[in-house]
């Protein structure tokens, strides 16, 4: 039984304690269930916490962006135009109007930091050096964080570090201009740290700045009003730094620039590279000042090499073609460059990969050299989004340089885009900020008139908006310039309005004067503003290219017209008798043969014209020229029977004149048209077969005849060889033949004097050996009609004035002062600029004393600019002109002139711009070769300012002579090649004196080729009314009159342009929108400009000069030594057709930061300052870099280094003002000091304070970083031109109530990028 019981017990052992087991199992299950629940809840909780932390981090990531935008908005608020701002990577500085006389600039007002800093805004005491992070920043992790800290990424091959901002690999690939010097706390892994301060964020959104701590300390304390507390704990921290996108190279606008400039000398480069290899349409990479001339190669050369074609392949729209980067000649048959169909890049990545090529599912690189490394290393140097505001320093709209027709139907596509860029809209009203032209010549309508170009007033008086804009400019020039101080009204009290009128008229009459082949709504053929060049138009091609100067009140522009710089009275015999007793010496006299006394003579008047805007296109005057007062003139008391008032209409197209048709007719040159009054266009001829005819010299018809002559013969007194010329005042009025308004009145007062009476000359071959005449004198001696007829095509010098004539003239004076009168000192621009030219500006013609010398037949300086200057000019000596000896005849060295004694050399009728080159004989004459005689008042020995220093004058185009010009915009094209008689053909008419063909299809019509910027105003005089000759607007640091060395601030004594405010600040009132190949300019902003302020704050140890190098890469400097004016040893730089191009005067630019151009930038930054305006580039010397072996060697005593640049330039004093300023015209429009686009790099951390820790202490051992967010955002400030709130800045009603654009700027975030593994 026991056993059974036992056995039972053994059989059911599990039954004992089963309940507890069961219970335990259930409990275990419940426990497991509950634990699972706990784990799940914990997990969920962690997840929600992570979500919350990520939300917190994301929320924090908005802080830097918003904070920076607020800083930018505050900094760019111009306070109604009373302050300006300049941006740089990391900061924006503001400047008021209080000038610092030592620099000419206003001091710093405030600096708005765009990086996290304990003091986000500082005042004038800001010291950039104190901003550099300390060397021990790595041991202060709660004070500083490295925004450029790399992360380790598992790459395809091996792990690699990826940097968010700067990849040090850029140093290995040789990105030019990139240097890191003395970076604090570098490591092998991190050679380019960007330590930035943490700013702590409290729960209520306030900022807290930690107290300073020492290395290694784990606790960071806070004090002061914004310290964290238990109620307002720390919830996060942010660090950020903002890059200025305009300090990078824009991949959407840059390509690879290849220099092009209008030929200005007879150099090899000018002839073969510039004239023959002009950029054709769409070859933007060669248009001076176009953003496409900014080069990518300084950033990318390490990968892509030097071949420009590589860069064209990568750049959107830009393509190789046309001149193929200046390597192939072009002509009228060269097709425009075909633009590619690339779209604009949104990111650098798109630039690197070819959208069209996909292999293995991946995009292929756009170039074999482009790799992943390329992308990483170039990110710091390239951008797809840089854009800069184009507003004045007063924060108001700039004026567009491009003139546009008032009527929309007369605008072509280019005009419409230009208008779009510079218009605001108020309600339904367009508010243009460009000057408009009233009427154009419609090429489709042969009955159309010549438009408003022929009126001196219509474009101003008939367009109220133009009046408002002029008044707007007046208002701006009366305000102290922000950033610099002082105003132009005070600087130029007598000339401010004159300067403004010159500027307005420069644009009106120098730009867009013809737009052939570009359809408008009104005309499929386009329009021309000036009278057309198309032969056969009903009105005839009269006055082609002529534009009457604009007048605004008492001020006057230059237009494209002529003034008169000399009037010569010519007495010529009409009847004679033999007078064996008359002993008059004459040229070529041989033996003792008799002369012929004039029994009757007549008089006629010749005038010497002067055009202040020589250049292309060539043009013809179509003017009514009325001479009044000649009726009072008498000789020996006998009236010369000249009319009291007679009008001559210059009535022939110079280009068609049958004069010297093989070498050009001078209608591109300054002293043009001397012979034009002797021709007319017969409108009775069929329109398609009109050729100029010589006038009927017996008629007084203003068109067909010659009215400036005696109405009848004057009986010559007998028994005397001399007689009294009464002299007396005359008045000459000039007006367009298509408009009755008088454009200019010129007064002259011929002094009375004793003159030799005319006689009849006869060549010695007309006498036999005994002196007995075998033939009568030729008819040409007594018949004016015969003289015109005999002149034929090439012999005007010989026949128009004969040796027996008597000539007295009044010509432009070369003196600076005469009696009590101030004179223009030989600066002929004065004669063109004044509405009324006083008689005191003219002096007796001929060399000193000739006018009053009764033995001298000729006292004049008539200069014929229609011919090459080596042909000489009309009689001025009664003997062979020794000056002609130096001419050496034709290109073979033969004296080919048939009657050289009828001609005077250019020495005799010209003058000199440079001292020591004016000699008529002796060593000096060899310094100024025959064709190089400048266009100045005769007898001028040196172009000197009133203070005696060398003045401003212009280089003539091509190989034409230099002189007092206004730097006309180049409107030429490659439509024809012209032979220059030296065996060389060159395109565009630059090496001829008057050949030009239109561009019928508009293939070369490009606004940015015609004008790059307002720097082209640099030859406009500034002293027309204050009588300061040879002074023009100054847009370069090296005017001829500068004495101060390059290392010092220039002084007002060096040039009035340096006095405050400096002239270059006028540049910022104007802009030239870039509308090709796409709208690179938008309303009042332009993409791709490069910020001059490349210094990086606070990381001044990182040097990123790459973008400025890109801007300088294609800039060319021209420097002409005095020796180039002579024939030897290089050949004359202004030599005529037979001078070989042996000399090179073009240079590149040295960019070295120690000795080269960047030295000027570095000096500014080293002084703790920045550039306030891009126009300040005009204060920076561009250090030339020889590019050709033909460059003359630099003088040994003056090293080609920045600090000695002024001495260097003194060796190149034959360089004209426009040539000195030319490189700045290429640069200025591509530079900026203000950016509209910024990239904010940030690092934010959500923080969690440990429980029980002090709330105002951050203890990194106890407290924790909950989450982190790194990334960047790209923000842009922009303006909506249709914003109805934007006022009309030119509204006269608000003239005294300054307004500004800054409040109307908006911001947008273009892009956000997260930086994560």
């Amino acid at each position: 039984m026991h056993s059974k019981t036992f056995s039972r017990s053994k059989e059911h052992p599990q039954q004992q304690g089963a309940a507890i087991i069961l219970l335990l199992v259930i409990v275990a299950l419940i426990t497991i269930l509950l634990l699972s629940l706990i784990v799940l809840v914990d997990s969920e909780n962690r997840s929600s916490k992570a979500f919350e932390e990520s939300i917190a981090a994301r929320n924090l990531s908005d802080y830097p962006t918003n904070l920076v935008i607020a800083q930018i908005r505050e900094a760019t608020d111009s306070d109604l135009g009373n302050r300006t701002w300049a941006s740089q990577p990391g900061a924006i500085r503001t400047f008021g109007t209080q000038i610092d006389p030592s620099t000419g600039r206003a001091g710093l007002e405030k600096i708005y930091k765009l990086y996290s800093s304990p003091q986000m805004i500082e005042g004038a005491t800001f010291d950039p050096t104190s901003e550099i992070p300390p060397e021990n920043w790595t041991s202060l992790p709660d004070q500083f964080t490295d925004l450029n800290e790399p992360v380790l990424v598992e790459g395809l091959d091996s792990p690699e570090y990826v940097f968010p901002i700067i990849d040090p690999a850029a140093l290995d690939f040789g990105v030019e201009g990139f240097q890191v010097e003395g970076a604090p706390g570098t490591t092998e892994r991190q050679p380019v740290p960007m330590p930035t301060r943490w700013i702590y964020i409290l729960e209520d959104g306030n900022f807290a700045v930690p107290d300073e701590t020492t290395s290694g300390e784990t606790k960071t304390t806070f004090s002061g009003g914004s310290a964290p507390s238990l109620e307002n704990p720390i919830v996060g921290r942010i660090a950020f730094w903002t890059d200025d996108e305009s300090s990078k190279v824009n991949i959407n606008t840059a390509s690879e620039g290849v220099v092009w400039d209008m030929p200005r000398a007879n150099s090899h480069y000018d002839a073969y590279n510039f004239a023959d290899k002009q950029p054709v349409q769409n070859e933007f990479q060669r248009f001076p000042g176009h953003p496409a001339t900014t080069s990518l190669s300084p950033a990318l050369r390490g990968w892509l090499g030097d071949d420009p074609a590589t860069y064209y392949q990568l750049s959107p729209f830009v393509q190789n073609g046309g001149s193929f980067g200046g390597t192939q000649n072009v002509d009228q048959n060269t097709p425009p460059v075909e633009l590619d169909s690339d779209r604009l890049f949104a990111t650098i990545d798109e630039f690197a990969f070819d959208a069209g090529k996909i292999s293995s599912g991946n995009r292929e690189p756009s170039h074999p050299a482009i790799s992943d490394e390329f992308l990483k290393a170039t990110r710091f140097f390239l951008t797809a989004h840089s854009r800069a505001p184009d507003v004045t320093l007063f924060d108001t709209p700039k004026i567009n340089l491009w003139p546009i027709q008032k009527e929309p139907e007369h605008r072509n596509a280019i005009d419409r885009l230009q208008a779009f860029c510079s218009e605001m809209r108020s309600a339904d009203t367009r508010l243009p900020y460009y000057f408009q032209r009233s009427r154009v010549h419609d090429l489709s309508d042969s009955t159309a008139g010549h438009g408003s170009s022929q009126s001196p007033s219509e474009d101003y008086a008939a367009i109220p908006r133009n009046q408002e804009l002029f008044s707007y400019l007046q208002g701006l020039t009366e305000r102290d310039v922000p950033g610099f101080g002082q105003n132009f009204r005070s600087k130029y009290p007598d000339d401010r309005d004159q300067i403004l009128t010159q500027i307005v008229d420069y644009c009106r009459s120098g730009l867009n004067t013809m737009a052939y082949g570009l359809p408008t709504e009104a005309s499929a053929e386009g329009y021309v503003y000036s009278p057309p060049r198309t032969p056969g138009a009903q009105s005839g091609p009269l006055g082609e290219g002529q534009i009457i100067p604009l007048q605004i009140d008492d001020s006057r522009g230059f237009g494209r017209s002529i003034t008169i710089t000399e009037a010569a009275l010519v007495l010529h015999p009409v009847a004679h008798e033999e007078d064996p007793d008359l002993d008059i010496r004459y040229p070529g006299k041989q033996g003792n043969h008799p002369l012929y006394r004039a029994t009757e003579f007549k008089a006629f008047l010749m005038v010497e014209f002067f055009c202040a805007s020589p250049g292309l296109p060539s043009w013809s005057p179509y003017l009514n020229i009325t001479v009044k007062g000649m009726e009072k003139w008498s000789v020996a008391g006998r009236s010369l029977q000249l009319p009291a008032e007679s009008t001559l209409v210059t009535h022939s197209p110079i280009g068609e004149l049958p004069i010297l048709n093989r070498v050009g007719k001078g209608h591109s040159c300054a002293h043009m048209n001397l012979l034009q009054p002797f021709f007319f266009m017969d409108e009775d001829d069929p329109p398609n077969n009109r050729r100029p005819k010589t006038r009927d010299m017996e008629s007084f018809d203003p068109i067909r005849g010659y009215p400036w002559r005696s109405t009848g013969p004057v009986l010559a007194p007998t028994d005397v060889e001399t007689a009294e010329f009464s002299g007396g005042p005359i008045e000459i009025e000039i007006s367009s033949a298509a408009d009755s308004d008088v454009s200019q009145t010129i007064r002259m007062d011929f002094p009375a004097t004793t003159i030799p009476l005319p006689y009849v000359w006869s060549h010695f071959s007309n006498f036999d050996g005994s002196g007995k005449p075998t033939r009568d004198p030729e008819q040409v001696e007594t018949s004016l009609r015969e003289r015109i007829r005999r002149s034929g095509s090439n012999h005007w010098h010989e026949f128009l004035i004969r040796p027996g004539d008597t000539v007295r003239s009044m010509e432009a004076a070369s003196a600076m002062k005469e009696g009590g009168d101030s004179l223009p000192g030989g600066d002929l621009r004065f004669f063109a600029a004044r509405k009324e030219v006083p008689a005191s500006w003219f002096t007796k013609g001929g060399a000193e004393g000739e006018y009053d010398d009764e033995t001298r037949r000729f006292a004049h300086g008539l200069r014929n600019g229609d011919f090459w200057q080596y042909w000489g000019h009309f009689c001025s000596e009664e003997r062979r002109d020794s000056g002609l000896d130096a001419i050496n005849g034709d290109r073979h060295g033969n004296v080919r002139l048939r009657n050289p004694y009828f001609r005077s050399s250019s020495w005799k009728v010209g003058g000199s711009l440079l001292s020591g080159t004016s000699g008529y004989s002796g060593p000096e004459k060899k310094k100024l070769y025959r064709d190089a005689h400048p266009v100045v008042a005769r007898g001028l020995t040196e172009a000197l300012r009133r203070d005696g220093r060398p003045g401003d004058w212009d280089q003539g185009f091509g190989n034409t002579e230099d002189g007092a010009f206004i730097n006309k915009p180049d409107e030429s094209n490659a439509s024809k090649k012209y032979w220059n008689w030296g065996g060389n053909y060159h395109s565009g008419g630059y090496f001829r004196r008057g050949n030009f063909d239109i561009d019928p299809d508009g293939n070369n019509h490009a606004p940015n080729r015609q004008i790059a910027s307002a720097v082209q105003f640099g030859s406009l005089p500034t002293g027309i009314y204050s009588m300061r000759p040879w002074e023009t607007l100054l847009f370069c640091p090296n005017p001829a009159g500068r004495v101060t060395d390059a290392g010092s601030e220039p002084q007002a004594e060096d040039h009035i342009g340096f006095s405050f405010p400096r002239d270059h600040l006028l540049l910022d009132l104007f802009w030239m929108p870039v509308t090709q190949p796409y709208a690179i300019s938008e309303p009042f902003s332009t993409a791709g400009k490069v910020n001059m302020n490349y210094e990086i704050l606070p990381f001044s140890y990182i040097h990123r000069r790459t973008a400025i190098l890109s801007a300088l890469e294609s800039v060319s400097v021209i420097a002409i030594p005095e020796i180039a004016l002579a024939r030897h040893p290089y050949g004359c730089i202004k030599g005529g057709r037979d001078q070989a191009h042996r000399l090179e005067v073009r240079y590149g630019v040295s960019t070295d930061e120690e000795t080269g151009t960047l030295r000027g930038f570095e000096k500014r930054f080293a002084s703790g300052d920045v550039f306030r305006s891009p126009s300040e580039i005009c204060e920076i010397y561009l250090v030339p870099e020889p590019v050709e072996s033909r460059n003359p060697p630099a003088p040994a005593a003056t090293p080609r280094e920045y600090e000695s640049m002024q001495d260097w330039w003194n060796e190149f004093r034959a360089t004209g003002d426009n040539a000195r300023e030319m490189p700045y015209n290429q640069l200025y429009p591509r530079l900026t000091t203000q950016s509209n686009v910024y990239r904010i790099h940030y690092r934010v951390q959500a923080l969690t304070k440990a429980r029980g820790t002090q709330p105002d202490v951050w203890d990194r051992e106890l407290d924790s970083v909950a989450s982190e967010f790194r990334g960047s955002s790209l923000v842009e400030r922009y303006i909506d031109p249709n914003d109805p709130e934007i006022p009309d800045f030119a509204d006269p009603a608000t003239k005294d109530k300054p307004q500004s654009l800054s409040p109307h700027y908006r911001f947008r975030i273009i892009q956000k990028r997260r930086f994560a593994k």
């Binding site: 059974k4 017990s9 059911h12 089963a18 309940a19 507890i20 219970l23 335990l24 259930i26 409990v27 419940i30 426990t31 509950l34 629940l37 706990i38 809840v41 914990d42 969920e44 909780n45 929600s48 916490k49 979500f51 919350e52 939300i55 917190a56 929320n59 908005d62 802080y63 962006t65 918003n66 904070l67 935008i69 607020a70 908005r73 505050e74 800093s117 304990p118 003091q119 986000m120 805004i121 500082e122 700013i199 964020i201 409290l202 729960e203 209520d204 959104g205 306030n206 900022f207 700045v209 919830v235 914003d1283 709130e1285 006022p1287 307004q1299 409040p1303 109307h1304 908006r1306 911001f1307 947008r1308």
Partner: protein
């Protein structure tokens, strides 16, 4: 035939000791677990709240970021309260579904480092309470989470604000 010997019930069932021990263990474990469960539930609720509140703050922050600068002071009234359901979805008005309430407080610019105020920054304080059904969800006793967002002016400055 002999009847089988029946098992005494006391030998086959649970002894008192076993039952007592089991109950004691069960009671102890369940007590422990019950205690944990409470905090777990609370923990879970906290997580839900955290999630919902973060979402609410984000929603409000994003919504207000869409507003123009000037609407921040007009469309958004200082102290305005919004209600949300248990999943953080916005309700048109206070209702039975309301679990969370959020109050917006528009605060002037934070003082920038360097003791400077900016005219172009505003803070939006978002206070979120999990007592959405309470008469005053933001009464002092109720826990409230605070979130601060920073706003800047993206639009142009109207002429009236410049005194023009």
């Amino acid at each position: 035939m002999r009847d089988p010997i029946p098992n005494p019930p006391s030998r086959c069932g649970l002894t008192l000791i076993e039952v007592a021990l089991s109950l004691a263990i069960a009671a102890m474990v369940l007590t422990i677990l019950a205690g944990t469960l409470g905090s777990t539930v609370e923990f879970a609720a906290e997580g839900f709240d955290r999630f919902a509140m973060a979402r609410i703050s984000q929603t409000l922050s994003d919504e207000n970021r869409m507003l123009d600068w000037n609407q921040l002071g007009t469309e958004i009234q200082d102290g305005e309260i919004f209600f949300f359901d248990e999943r953080g979805r916005r309700l048109d008005s206070k209702s039975e579904e309301a679990v969370y309430a959020a109050r917006l407080r528009l605060v002037d610019s934070p003082v920038l480092p360097g003791s400077v105020e900016s005219d172009h920054l505003k803070r939006l304080m978002i206070e979120v309470s999990a007592r959405g059904r309470a008469e005053d969800p933001f009464a002092a006793l109720h826990p409230v989470r605070r979130f601060a967002s920073l706003y800047t002016r993206m639009e142009s400055v109207p002429s009236t604000s410049k005194g023009e």
